[in-house]
């Protein structure tokens, strides 16, 4: 089954290949809303997520010649962004021992509601409150749908560690949501 891209996208890609800055800006603004959540759910904050996204978009601009029109552009870009984000985490982790447990307990304030009724921004807040080594596993499992074997291969950890981290992330998310919810109820 072949995918027929939008003609305006084809023209935009052609202009980007030619190095047109205005076309690149339009391209950037068009796909930024879809791609930023990919980095946001892996990284600590928005600044870091935007920085990694910019580097991923740069790689995309440099690789537009390799793009085949039969593929969906959005998925192709998301793949680049996710690979760039994971590479960033992996490289940084080597230096900082990012995946080692560390004391990290920032205050979280989310809307008063059940876990299954939270808005996206509150979800992102709760995710950012997780330690890095738990957040990455949780995002890969819940948002990207990877199984534990794939996560273990991706992060170079054991399957048991992946399982433990996912369970620990769920537990912490519930605890943090509960504590935040209690705090909100006491303040209201």
């Amino acid at each position: 089954m072949s995918f027929r891209p939008d003609p305006s996208i084809v023209a935009l890609i052609a202009a980007c290949k030619a190095g047109d800055r205005r076309a690149q800006e339009a391209f950037y603004r068009r796909f930024f809303p879809k791609l930023l959540p990919v980095t946001l759910r892996y990284l600590r904050n928005r600044e870091e997520a935007v920085s990694v996204l910019n580097h991923a978009m740069l790689r995309a601009f440099q690789s537009l010649d390799d793009y085949r029109e039969e593929h969906k552009l959005e998925a192709w870009l998301a793949t680049i962004v996710r690979r760039t984000t994971l590479n960033f985490i992996r490289d940084e982790g080597r230096a900082r021992r990012r995946f080692q447990p560390e004391a990290y307990d920032p205050p979280v304030s989310v809307a008063n509601g059940a876990l299954d009724r939270l808005h996206a921004e509150d979800i992102i807040k709760l995710l950012h409150a997780l330690p890095d080594y738990l957040r990455v596993v949780f995002s890969l499992s819940v948002f990207d749908g990877l199984i534990h074997e794939e996560i273990a291969a991706e992060l170079d950890i054991t399957v048991a560690a992946s399982r433990w981290r996912l369970a620990k992330a769920r537990e912490l998310l519930r605890d943090r949501y509960t504590s935040a919810n209690h705090l909100n109820e006491s303040l209201s």
Binding site: G19, R21, Q24, E25, Y28, R29, F32, P33, K34, L36, P37, L40, R41, V50, S51, N54, H55, M57, L58, F61, Q62, A114, L115, D116, R117, L118, H119, A120, E121, I123, I124, V142, F143, R170, E171, R174
Partner: protein
Amino acid sequence: MSTLKDHSWEEHWRREVDQYAPQPSTADWAGMHQLLEGTSGTEGQRTIDQEPPTAAAASWQAIRELPWYQYLVLMAAIVTVGYWLGVRQSGEIGEATTEVHPATDSLPGVTFAPHVSINENRTFAKDGNRSAAARRDTTYFTQRVVRRASRNFPVAAAQARRIYIDTTYFLHANGNLSIRYDTVYSNGSTSSAEGKTYQPTEQPAPSGSTTVGAPSPAGVVTNAPASAPPVATDQEHKPGQPQRPTATGDSSSSGVYRPGRSPYLPVTLSVVVQPLPAWQPAPGTTYWEHRVQKLLESGRLKIKQTQRDNGHFPPINQRF
């Protein structure tokens, strides 16, 4: 949220995050634009011609490209010129040694004990210190003093042989100074470093003999022929060929053969014994205090003030 196994909220989270679409700010695009500008600079590139090599570089390049036989000839020429320059320089130094005046010592006033043998001496000059021009120094002794000076006298340029004159000053307990000359003919060997046991053939200074602590009149000429007859050797020698220009008299010195040294040959030369500078210690001043004071005045000795507090702990100059 009911149980730990209830993960239905995760599906809600997935949908929420998928629908989340934050809009880019101006700062976000500015960062991206900066990134793009930093990586795209191809239009600003241009080819810069390499500068032509300088004359020195071109010469070096030409030398490097020489064939091996020309390179060999070039190296041989360089070595030859260097050897010639070295020989020429060595000759100049050899000539200079003949112009050197006898070293002058400063003799402190020393009172010998009665039981001390007056002819007992010490030799301070090392064998090999024959280039008096380069190695002459002033040595101060605190006990009975003998200075043995060695000088080079080229006999003949063609022979490339030299006569070494060993001069020994004997300081007697009565204050008189006697001088002994040892004439050593060196055939190039360095065996003269051995055998320091001298049989002193001393001659007292004839007139105005130098007294310790009191300078004698300038230009005291001491002629001190050795008493021992010359030892016949197969070495040729032309007596008196190198003459000191300041000679005021002639003296001949016969060498005495001693084991471990080169054969001695007689040589005629004149030696001017310069007066020894006097030193009279100030009352209550030891010789070394006087010496330190002189060194301080001449600037050869400097007292370095230690800094106790120089920002380091311990202070840098206090560490060792």
